[in-house]
Symmetry: C2
Subunit: 219 residues, 2 copies
Amino acid sequence: MPIKPKIPRPTVKRLSLYLRQLESMTAHEQQTTSSKQLGEALGLTDAQVRKDLAYFGQFGHPGIGYKVGELIAQLRKILGTDRNWNTAVVGAGNIGRALMAYGRFKNKGFEFVAVFDNNPEVVGTVIETHTVRPMKDLATLIKDRHIKLGIVAVPEEAAQQVTDELIEAGVVGILNFAPIRLDVHDAVSVNSVDFSVSLEQLAFQVSLGMTGSLDEDEN
Amino acid sequence: MPIKPKIPRPTVKRLSLYLRQLESMTAHEQQTTSSKQLGEALGLTDAQVRKDLAYFGQFGHPGIGYKVGELIAQLRKILGTDRNWNTAVVGAGNIGRALMAYGRFKNKGFEFVAVFDNNPEVVGTVIETHTVRPMKDLATLIKDRHIKLGIVAVPEEAAQQVTDELIEAGVVGILNFAPIRLDVHDAVSVNSVDFSVSLEQLAFQVSLGMTGSLDEDEN
């Protein structure tokens, strides 16, 4: 049975920010850092940074702080980004096509190995070297191709049914683009992309007179 | 000149999480809350919550904590979500079409009032009641239709040029879907959507054995 530490979900979201910040430090040949410095770069208190990282182990060294390279390596190992993830896209509509055309996934360890749709006019067509397969092939292909992640890019009304089929077939993580809360009976992990949040955050910045990018470093 | 408070950008991103949490409390008829309770629901220390909210004013009441309805109203006012934002989409490809088909923007105050593309075969076609206009009409339409936000949904190699044109035309905020860092000379606000971050966060959850949704409440 996998260990399930009680880690707050927002902590998991912040881990990718820590990793990116640490990687940027490495690129600038910085050897060590502190919770204060990481916090300042990411708009967090140093207490928050220490608390987040402490869920994963004791990384700090007295009098030194965090060793950047060591922290990156340990986080990557814990987080599974040193692995390869076979991924399926369900829904060959606009979102599905956009994702498959997006070239940056493969060097991050995500490989699209199947795409499914229920529209007979779309099934059999080729998108970015992948032939769209009918939904009836989903269970077999998920198993045969060792697919662990599924992307739900279907209309809202079909999203739950597709999710049920993906879970039944053995997928362990679902990236959801449908604007509904999926019921996964705590059987798998789910992350949802909500475009309205992104647009809302932009409007916040504008209203606050904050120019520049929300993702830029502060320092 | 607009006031530009020195608010950390991640604080701005967290504000939409605070708002959603508060709105969920209202829906459950909860009248008051505390930084501790908000922090627990969002995986933040109470010090972080107090620090984030303190950028926007003194909202707490001694012995009571935060009044939920009051805090929502004040945040919404500060954040401009009580306004309407005319928005343009540049790029009538997969992402642009997906966004225009996504029906949830309007009741959040975002109205798509123009869509542009440079492909002569796409210009003149109709997407979701909007006729695709050529890029040469961009400057005029942005001004005439009081468009404040622009969505960059063009290929990577065209994104900077489109951004320059949007800024020149008077847009004040840009939502970027191209996987590059746009140079906006600190003239406007930018928020970028990076699908690889979403997929990475999902892989983190799976590796950590955390089932359920990353966006679910903890309590």
